[in-house]
């Protein structure tokens, strides 16, 4: 399927770099993209910048997205999340924390209104994975560690970690789709 979110026209137009498609994609996915960035960076302004920069980079790069890459929503979400992770890794940890704490306070409750049923699905799906598969997946997703860092942390060969993460993500995705 060209676009899992059911909008093939949008995906095709986005790939063809039609401006309306860019604006429409932003309109449709802004909340999700912001969440992807915020969940990594934990700071509103930084998250907004990450969304902006990731989308600008995609837009400036002809051919970055084609319908062959699957759902536009998923492609953009991962682009934004990767941008956020890159930022998080490159920022000095102390600076990042100081910025985060000094930032305009946001209402914690307002920011975290995930669907509890969805959250439970993720938690249950993760819990169902064997420890040796779940742990590297958690370190990659929640702690944004690279596969090299994960291999070092778990004292396991790189190839083993890679295959466990891939296996875990496949199983998790399947479990969440069928839950």
């Amino acid at each position: 399927m060209a676009d899992g979110d059911g909008n093939r026209d949008l995906a095709t137009a986005f790939a063809a770099r039609e401006r309306w498609a860019f604006e429409e994609a932003y309109r449709q996915f802004a909340g999700l993209l912001y969440a992807a960035a915020y969940n990594v960076l934990g700071e509103a302004e930084d998250a907004r910048d990450a969304v902006h920069d990731a989308l600008a980079r995609v837009w400036r790069s002809p051919g970055a997205y084609t319908p062959a890459r699957g759902a536009l929503k998923s492609f953009l979400t991962v682009c934004v999340r990767n941008e956020a992770i890159t930022r998080a890794r490159s920022q000095n940890r102390r600076t990042r924390l100081a910025v985060r704490l000094a930032a305009e306070p946001v209402e914690y409750e307002e920011l975290r209104i995930g669907d509890p049923i969805e959250s439970d699905r993720l938690r249950i799906a993760l819990a169902a994975l064997p420890e040796e598969i779940r742990r590297p997946l958690e370190l990659a997703y929640y702690d944004q560690m690279t596969h090299v860092e994960i291999a070092r942390a778990l004292d396991a060969p790189l190839g083993t970690i890679k295959s466990r993460i891939a296996n875990g993500l496949r199983r998790l995705g399947a479990a969440m789709r069928h839950a």
Binding site: G4, G31, L32, T77, L97, L101, G114, D143
Partner: protein, 205 residues
């Protein structure tokens, strides 16, 4: 150009590759439909995780919210309690000054920077009170916070059909709290008023 994306598709989607490795995957997928599909599927899976994790209500609204809201106060205060730096009663509604103090303390900032945390709510809380626990993902620390009552409450670890008493919250003005350094993950905590359990929190790891 790399051979085929293979297991790197998951690493790509999770952000576990560096920039150069990601670029290599993109370049390869632009000429390999099978790997493009593989990347798309991995991106779908990670997107499902992001969606399940929770979507902020209103990205633009957050900036207009008032300063020093109680919600923002929780993590800042818990962070401070972790290192026992300041009398917490001074911190209530003083997020900015807390921030300034935090920034001056290298050791504390280092601790905070490395202290990823999670939260869980106690429920149901009576009488409009609210309570939550912030805790380290490895179970190395817990901070229980109760808002809206000055009354000390006992905190217990619920496990295997038993209650292990952990301590009593201390009133700090409008908030009472208890810092618990631990060495293990506790999956259920209870707030108790005397012998009566008034609320429970389930902690996910």
């Amino acid at each position: 150009m790399i051979e085929h994306v293979g297991d790197d598709a998951a690493l790509y989607a999770l952000g576990a590759l560096d920039d150069a490795q990601r670029d290599a995957c993109d370049l390869h997928a632009s000429a390999c439909p099978a790997c493009a599909v593989l990347l798309g599927q991995a991106c779908d899976d990670v997107t499902a995780m992001v969606e399940a994790d929770g979507v902020p209500a209103a990205p633009l609204r957050a900036k207009t919210l008032p300063r020093a809201g109680l919600g923002a106060f929780w993590p800042a205060l818990a962070a401070v309690i972790l290192v026992a730096l300041l009398p917490a009663s001074l911190l209530y509604r003083q997020n900015a000054s807390v921030t300034a103090q935090l920034a001056q303390e290298d050791a504390m900032v280092a601790r905070l920077a490395s202290s990823d945390h999670r939260t869980a709510k106690f429920g149901p809380m009576p009488g409009g009170h609210s309570a939550r626990v912030m805790y380290g993902p490895t179970g190395s620390w817990y901070v229980v916070m109760v808002k809206g009552t000055r009354k000390p409450m006992q905190v217990a670890w619920m496990h295997d059909g038993e209650k292990t008493m952990l301590g009593t919250t201390r009133s700090l003005g409008e908030v009472a709290m208890l810092y618990l350094p631990q060495s293990h993950r506790m999956e259920k905590l209870a707030l108790m008023d005397g012998n009566e359990v008034v609320a429970e929190a389930n902690l996910a790891y």
